[in-house]
């Protein structure tokens, strides 16, 4: 097999795999359930309360 052929097979293989990967990413992004359903808000709130934390300025947490 020629050297050019080997390089071509490697390049085409990488690009084809990456294309397949991008398609897979897209499929997962379509299949992924909405954020609300993945997070059990009640459970998270309970855990936060149990840890003695309250939300501060929306992004940070401070101790009670």
């Amino acid at each position: 097999m020629k050297k050019e052929d080997k390089y071509f097979i490697i390049l085409l293989g990488i690009v084809t795999l990456a294309t397949g990967g991008v398609i897979a990413e897209n499929v997962f992004s379509v299949l992924r359930p909405p954020l609300e359903r993945r997070i059990d808000v009640a459970k998270v709130k309970k855990n936060i309360d149990a840890a003695g934390l309250i939300p501060h300025e929306a992004r940070f947490w401070k101790e009670l």
Binding site: D5, T19, V22, E25, N26, E36
Partner: protein, 458 residues
Amino acid sequence: MKNYRAISLLFVTLFITGACFNLLRERDRQAADVKKILAACPVVLPQAKEFIKETAGVPHYKAFKTSSATANDLLGAAVVTTDIAPEIRGYAGAIKLLVGVDLQGNISRLSMISHSETPSYVLEMDSFLEQFKGLNIHNSFQLGRDIDGITRATITSEAVARAVEKSLKQTADKVLNLKVAGMTMEGKSIPLEQILIPLLLFAVAVTGVVTHKTVIRWIALLGGLVYFGILKSTMVSAVQIANICLLKFPAFHQSPLWYMLIGLTLITSVFWGMVFCGSLCPFATVQELLYNIAHRKSKKFPKSGLSRGLDQRGRDVKYAVLTLGLTPSVILGNASAASMEPFLTLFTLKGTKLAWGLLTFTLIAAIFHFRFWCKYLCPVGACLGLITRISLFRIRLGQNCINCELCERACPTGAIQMNEQRLPVITHPECILCGKCIRYCPKETLNIRVFTKHEKGR
């Protein structure tokens, strides 16, 4: 030679199956959306304890403070944008949002129910929707002035802004009996440039094909790169093919460019062949520029060192890519799955790590192989190539061929091969109509001529 008839049949079957499958599934999707809407009602109006659906007049969900649901308990209403503004669609069909409106006519919150937009174009959807929170019936919803659109997703952003504004103002007016300001974007005229510039570019491209002049072809290529690529970040893509398969189209007044691009590409493909791929595709232009710069000092016809058999087998990958993109789109009923082309990452400068990796390797490969993506992987090229089988005008061999083989050596895509009689045979699904073979033919034997019936068996 490949069995293009069988490949065409496969894709026609996939298209018809996809369209039928989607029509059947649409009913199930409506039921799933109803569940999502019911789940989203407490999200958009969190203080409400009870929601009652009203179907008379403007369809909406009345939100009440207590479960007794009396008029005094009324907190506001939640409406689905597609119920109020079904005519407003995004790039890939309807964008269904639930809008919560309080008694003062303020938007309490929005919740996305469903959409079919390309994920890589709408990565910032959540932060975009956050901007609507607190806007009220007296506000205007002008994109770019009052609301920051999602970069490079103007059609989607505008569709959301218009649908939310219309839903809010109609709900306030007809459900909550509030005095409402006029619509910001009502009566917006069709953007004429989206009709005229594509027309002009396709006219230049066809002129380049017919006259086979390199200068005209490059004017079209650079025009396509600037307008479709840099300014609009759009081109014929696998997502559009999947959307056609799923019978999802944007509204013409919102996106005349979509119709011009698809319509003119199909028309020129049926008449001449791959005019878009050869003379207008912005990503192909980038690849050709890279290749030409890298080979500027090489001889007249840079020869690929690749084995012919491997080159031919490599070209089959694009049909696999097209199948791989279309099949999940058809199964999921969402064209986003087919969004794999690296042009998206290049012109939007957005993408996942894998998408950036794909772009990088594609551009590296394009330095060594002429139009690497187009030749071996492009799903659009695969699809349009199959259409060229019915093209009316094609590059055809006339009389007086002297078997000089110059056309074969000049063809940058390797679409010409000499047969046993040392006569050129053109593989039209691989021909980008660059016209090099015609220009270099010493006897002017090759030219664009009407495709006659007796040739169809070839």
